[in-house]
Structure formats: C-alpha cells, structure tokens
C-alpha cells in the first residue's frame, strides 16, 4: 500500500496502484492541478510505485 497525502484537502490515505498515473486516476486527481512528490523527490507521473512509497500531491493553484 502507498501512503498518500493530498495537500489541498489536507487528507491522508492508503491506496494501491502500479504507478503515479494510475493512482491519480483512482483518486480523481487532475495532473494539471498538482505536482507529485514521491519519497520526498519530485516525480513525473509515469513513475512506478512500490509498496511503502510515500506520495504527496501538492496543489499548484494560486491563493489569489
């Protein structure tokens, strides 16, 4: 299971996916609206995921 943190919603959860792209689809996250940090490193969405990975979705939306 991958540990997930969604910044905009301040939400933590566990999920299963083979890569970041699949994880985003499962969580209904638009690739245009986040940058992805995997194990504290910025990662492109085609990166594979391993069990026990930590994935953070950081919002790109400006505050105004």
């Amino acid at each position: 299971m991958v540990k997930v943190f969604i910044e905009k919603e301040n939400k933590k959860l566990n999920a299963k996916a083979k890569d970041i792209e699949e994880l985003m689809k499962k969580l209904n996250i638009n690739k245009e609206e986040v940058i992805v940090v995997r194990n504290n490193q910025l990662a492109p969405r085609n990166e594979k995921l391993n069990d026990s990975d930590e994935v953070k979705f950081l919002s790109v939306i400006s505050g105004g």
């Binding site: 245009e32 986040v34 940058i35 910025l42 400006s62």
Partner: protein, 301 residues
C-alpha cells in the same frame, strides 16, 4: 530518463512522454521566461521595473528571475506588495515576502488598505454589501497603479501565468466580453499615458504547474494557502473545465493562447477608442467615468 541528459526526470512537459531532469528543467524554464521578455519587448534597458508581489509562488518566482536578469539586461527592480488586511492569510504571505526580499536584497514597498482607505478588507466586507473580490480587485489595481507612479516605475510586472491568462480569455469568450479581452496580453495598459503604468507578464507562457515545479525545486518553501474570500465561482469552474480538457487533449492551453495572440492586435485596434479616458474628479486617477470605481466604493464605506 531526461530527454536531454539521461538522468532522473522530475517533470513531464506537455505532449512529451519523456521528462526533464532538475537542471534541464531550470534551463527550459528560464529560457522561456527570458524569451517571453524579449519576444514581447516587455523590458527596455535602463527601465525601473516594479514587481507586484503577494508572497505566493508566482510572484516570488517572478521576483527571483527578474532579479537574476536585471544586471544582464540593465534594468532595476523594486517590489510592491498590497496588504489588503486579510487575517490568517495575507499576514502569512507577507512574512514569506519580507524574508524573500531580504534574501535577494530587493527593496520591498508595502501599501495597506488600512492606511489608504481607513479599513482592512476584513472590516470593509462587513460594512459593504459587495463580493470581497469586487472590492479587493478595484482597490488593488488602484493602489498598484498609483504607487507604481509614485515610486517612479516605468512598468509593473505581475505574476500572471499561462493558466491565469487562458482562464481570462475563455471567461471573456463565454460571457461575450471581447472589449475586456482587448485589455489582456503579455503587456497591457495605455502607451504614452503618464497616469497609467503599463503592466507586463513575464510568466505569460509558463503554466501554473511549471511555476510550482520551479519554486519547489528552488526550495522557495511556500506553504499552500488560499484566500478565504476566493469565491470567484465562475473562474473556478472555467479553470476545472480547461484542466480537464488539457488532460484529455494536451496542448490545449498553448493553443488557446497562441490563437488569442494571433487575433489580439485586431481586437485591440477595434476597441482602441471604445472607452474615453477620463480622470476621476475626486482623486484624478484615470478612469472611464466621472468618479473612479475606487472612490465610488470608498464613499460607501
């Protein structure tokens, strides 16, 4: 692997299955920033450029890059921050802005609604039956222009990025507002009018995601925070719509902007004399009526 140098990528660009590593991304980003300034002739040598900052990632990235470019292109910069008076939001971003300017050695000018209009935005919205964004937008534009002139800036740079502009273009299309679109573009305002300070948008061709990636990799350490009054529902819906489209059809945002830039000179020409420029009877700021919007709102407080 990075498409240029075979190291680990950090981002996939639009229409690319191969990514860019950190240093190739920095090169790509900064080249695009500098090219936008050159292509649209945003800055000329010896100009004094004001940089409107909020303390958020767009404006601090803008400030960082203009500071980096200023010696090479022979211009000077100073930052201008408008403190609307939003507790729990702007006070936090002001701290980030102060720290950032100090680190870069850039002079920061802060102008507040409280000092200028007597009340912070938090109090104004209790007194007025208006949407916070309607009050804030008018006062912010008013103060940016007034203080840019006072501080003798030749131009004022803002952190508007590709996503902001695409949203504005589409909102004007959906609402049939071509005359408002005529005021968009990488450089706006009236040429040769001393009362109007022209605005430039050097991040015009860089997406919100690219700017966030840049500021993250540069370690600007900015926390996510959203204005508590961000209730511009129409823009939020347009943003979601465009992002869904971009995800399905990569390149959509650039296509919208490229076709907009193609027709912009014609729209500008068509609406050039649509609104006569007048000067407010109360404050002498440029406006389209006898009294400017800022004075009109101020009289109701």
């Amino acid at each position: 692997m990075c498409k240029n140098c075979e190291t680990n990528p950090v981002i996939l660009l639009t229409n690319n299955t191969k990514g860019l590593c950190k240093s190739c991304f920095f090169r790509y980003f900064e080249r695009k920033f500098n090219k936008t300034i050159a292509q649209f002739k945003l800055i000329s040598p010896n100009e004094r450029i004001g940089v409107a900052i909020s303390g958020g990632k767009d404006s601090l990235t803008l400030l960082y890059l203009l500071n980096k470019l200023k010696s090479k292109k022979r211009f000077t910069i100073e930052a201008l921050l408008i403190d609307e008076g939003i507790k729990g939001y702007r006070d936090n971003t002001i701290k980030d802005a102060k720290k950032f300017c100090k680190e870069l050695g850039v002079k920061l000018n802060i102008v507040s609604y409280r000092d200028e209009f007597g009340y912070p935005l938090d109090m104004m919205i209790k007194k007025l039956k208006m949407k916070p964004c309607s009050i804030c937008g008018v006062f912010r534009r008013y103060l940016i222009n007034r203080y840019s002139r006072k501080l003798k800036f030749n131009k004022i740079a803002t952190g508007h990025n590709l996503d902001d502009e695409v949203q504005s273009v589409m909102m004007n299309q959906f609402r049939n507002n071509p005359e408002i679109s005529a005021r968009l573009g990488p450089i706006t305002g009236i040429k040769d009018n001393k009362k109007f300070i022209r605005r430039i948008k050097p991040l015009y061709l860089l997406s919100e995601k690219e700017v966030t990636t840049y500021s993250y990799l540069k370690n600007f350490k900015l926390k996510f925070c959203e204005c508590p009054y961000n209730t511009e529902a129409y823009r939020i819906n347009v943003r979601e719509f465009i992002n869904k489209f971009e995800e399905k059809y990569p390149g959509t945002k650039h296509s919208i902007i490229n076709s907009f830039l193609e027709i912009l000179p014609d729209i500008k020409e068509k609406f050039r004399n649509a609104e006569e420029i007048r000067y407010c009877k109360k404050c002498s700021e440029p406006c389209s009526n006898e009294i400017c919007k800022a004075c009109e709102i101020r009289s109701k407080i």
